[in-house]
Amino acid sequence: MRGKSILSAAALAAALGAPPVQPAGKPHTVTIEGMKFAPERIEVAVGDTITWINKDFLPHSVTAPAARLESGDLASNQSWKFSARKKGEIDYICRLHPVMRGVIVAK
């Protein structure tokens, strides 16, 4: 029932033109530029949302097969979001340019 209430509230808000419900947690941004993830190491709390934005003119990805993390190819100026659901470290790469590396630390 609780799930239904949330859905109904979201549907009502949408019908009234209200902004969509934002995911809980603090937002973080990782910029992909100059063939680097910046910052390369990002520390977040569980539930926080990380947005990667590709500022290069070449496509990139955020990929960590072991953690089942895969953004797909991000074209220039395209972004992708991920929320850490449990504590731990995730090492990730750009699948297209595997020398590009980053780490997510969820605390």
């Binding site: 063939m35 680097k36 070449l58 496509p59 595997p98 020398v99 590009m100």
Partner: protein, 172 residues
């Protein structure tokens, strides 16, 4: 190796200063950029068609994708600036060397082909990186042309490291 020799000659001539070498004009720099990219696209296409090694194939495909994207950026810029890329001794030497490299690669198969292709990619990207730093960026007069080459530099550096990674995997 003639491609590499051509770049090396350009670098050496500029190392001795403007009294010994005429700086390339912006249209000539645009011509060198387009030629250098096209050479790597062509080598990549040959590698994708010939290799059975997954890492070599992925690397070669990425070279085709990235260097095509760079050339598309360069084409858009020269159109905007109303500049026509010009041939130069450097671009002609690059093309001549590339032809020799392709002839050599056509004569190789299997692991020999993979090693020769990747070894050349490592050396080629290092030389292009040196040319960007010592010739192309310092001599670009138009700010947008200089900016494009500056933005391309990290991609060439990443390609070099990627090529070294694949080279290392082929030795195992």
């Amino acid at each position: 190796m003639k491609v590499l020799n051509a770049i090396a000659i350009v670098l050496l001539s500029f190392a001795f200063g403007p009294a010994h070498a005429q700086a390339p004009s912006d249209p000539q720099i645009a011509g060198i950029v387009v030629t250098a990219n096209q050479i790597d696209i062509d080598a990549g296409k040959l590698a994708v068609a010939n290799t059975k090694n997954n890492e070599v194939s992925k690397f070669a495909q990425q070279m085709i994708t990235d260097h095509t994207a760079v050339n598309n950026q360069a084409a858009a810029l020269v159109k905007k600036l109303n500049v026509k890329p010009e041939e130069s001794d450097t671009s002609r030497s690059l093309m001549g060397g590339a032809k020799d490299n392709m002839t050599k690669l056509h004569g190789l198969k299997g692991a020999e082909f993979d090693r020769a292709y990747i070894d050349h990619e490592v050396a080629y990207h290092q030389q292009v990186l040196d040319a960007i730093d010592k010739v192309l960026i310092p001599n670009s007069k138009n700010a947008e042309l200089k900016d494009l080459i500056t933005k391309v530099r990290p991609a060439i550096a990443a390609h070099l490291e990627h090529a070294k990674m694949v080279q290392s995997s082929l030795k195992k």
